[in-house]
Symmetry: C2
Subunit: 287 residues, 2 copies
């Protein structure tokens, strides 16, 4: 990342204000290279009965038995989409996968407050069911699926690994960017209340940290330099409890110069470090 881009992201602040969210989207969209011509997209395949049970698939001609890279968007449990007309996000994540020789999948899922925990893990189980049954016909290897998510998307992927552990067994890997993992120590806020319920005393059951520590699925975590404090606290807690339980530092990457949104948005731009980090992990756990 250039010092100029870093300064622009830093100037937007760490807090998830409308100015920070909109400013980051606009800045990163201005740098996106857009989708590669060779990438083929099939949109809005239903993986379940809800209108939000939809996925997009990104492939290239000739792909067969390729690793599968799934991206789960963020949005505070209550909003967000896999694709917005006129925006490069998050088709950039599917295109990234196709450019690296993987099959890319971006998904939407049911939203809070209409849907509460464990709707996220349940929807990911539906996604995995669909992929295991169908992704081979799109060039993907159902035995080599990597799940990735950002913010609420990371929390949902973590929830699937932790609370649907048997179902998740055999997932090749997980990329968790700026998520909340331990609901017992997470700072209450209206977004978490919408998904976990109004009383934080009831959130403990949704915590994913013990389940992540027990999971056999390889995990690449990351936290951004300009993430809000709560995400830094969560990342530090993951490091501390992981080392205490396993005697080793987890794969927790500190993303210098990035804020809460920019890591995923940087993929497909000239800011290459997150793309290298994620592609390297996918190759490592599916190689």
């Amino acid at each position: 990342m250039t010092p100029d881009i870093r300064a622009q992201l830093q100037a937007l602040g760490n807090d998830l204000t409308p100015e920070m969210l909109g400013g980051t989207q606009a800045l990163m969209a201005s740098m996106s290279r857009g989708m590669a011509a060779a990438t083929k997209v099939t949109r809005d395949i239903a993986y379940g009965p809800d209108a939000r049970h939809r996925l997009d698939i990104f492939t290239r001609d000739g792909l067969s038995g390729a690793p599968v890279f799934v991206f789960v968007h963020g949005g505070g449990f209550v909003m967000g989409d896999k694709h917005t007309e006129g925006s490069p996000f998050y088709s950039n994540m599917g295109d990234f996968a196709a450019r690296h020789g993987f099959v890319g999948v971006t998904i939407t899922y049911r939203l809070a407050p209409a849907n509460r925990f464990p709707s996220g893990p349940d929807d990911l189980a539906l996604v995995m069911n669909w992929l295991r049954a169908n992704i081979a016909t799109h060039g993907g290897d159902p035995a080599r699926i990597v799940l990735s998510g950002q913010s609420a998307g990371a929390t949902h992927v973590a929830g699937y690994l932790a609370h649907r552990r048997d179902h998740a067994s055999g997932t090749a890997g997980a990329v968790l960017m700026s998520g909340i993992y331990d609901t017992r120590t997470a700072a209450p806020n209206p977004f978490a209340e919408a998904y976990y319920g109004p009383d934080p005393r009831g959130w403990g059951v949704a915590s994913t940290l013990a389940g992540l520590l027990a999971s056999e699925v390889p995990i690449q975590f990351s936290v951004a330099e300009f993430d809000p404090d709560d995400f830094h606290q969560q990342a530090a807690q993951v490091v501390s409890q992981w080392q205490a339980a396993k005697g080793r530092f987890p794969e927790m990457h500190f993303l210098t110069g990035h804020n809460h949104l920019s890591p995923a948005l940087s993929i497909g731009s000239d800011i290459r470090e997150v793309e290298r980090m994620v592609a390297g992990f996918v190759r490592r756990v599916t190689g």
Copy 2:
């Protein structure tokens, strides 16, 4: 890093065995590009009265008022050198600095068991005295000095920041790779006993963690995937106590595919991520 190099490093194991140390040096030396023709070296300048009080300076024609990058080698407090005839290490660190437009400095320091704590912090104070008085004549800016170190070298730099805090004030930044910071929780071993003394109950005074937390000097930490357990424990402890004290995750980089030695040895090879990380930090804190 390519999967092949990663596999070779992983096969050497995490422990600091002669096979791992020698194998890593040989592998990384085979990939070194060697010193750039434009880099000019002045060797063995005395910065103090001891025979080990020596430094090498790496510059390029035309450098003036440039940031200064100092590298302090590791070697378990009892061995190691800034330069070994026929080896690219650690002139690669000085050349790195010069290639990026900085003045590079590599140093040797007094060794244990003849010299014990606080000989490391004391020697770094002598280095800083010399640099503040003399580095301008070599093209460097005495107000923009970044100290870096690996293993025992990182511990010595940390000791200088923590135990010579007033003297260290104004240091532009510190790059600490795979160091031991809290002697109260470090696993006793013959190398630490040689430097801190035979009885670990007396080591607490040498701990740098409280002093690092109190220091105003920006710090870039890193830990390697294949570091021994004790270095993972130390890194996790830095993360945990830093977050508890400051509310923020420290700049702690997890170096995928690297072992205890390879990060510094990779600088000047085609394995670029550590070079990018360190150069980015130096530019950031001296910009």
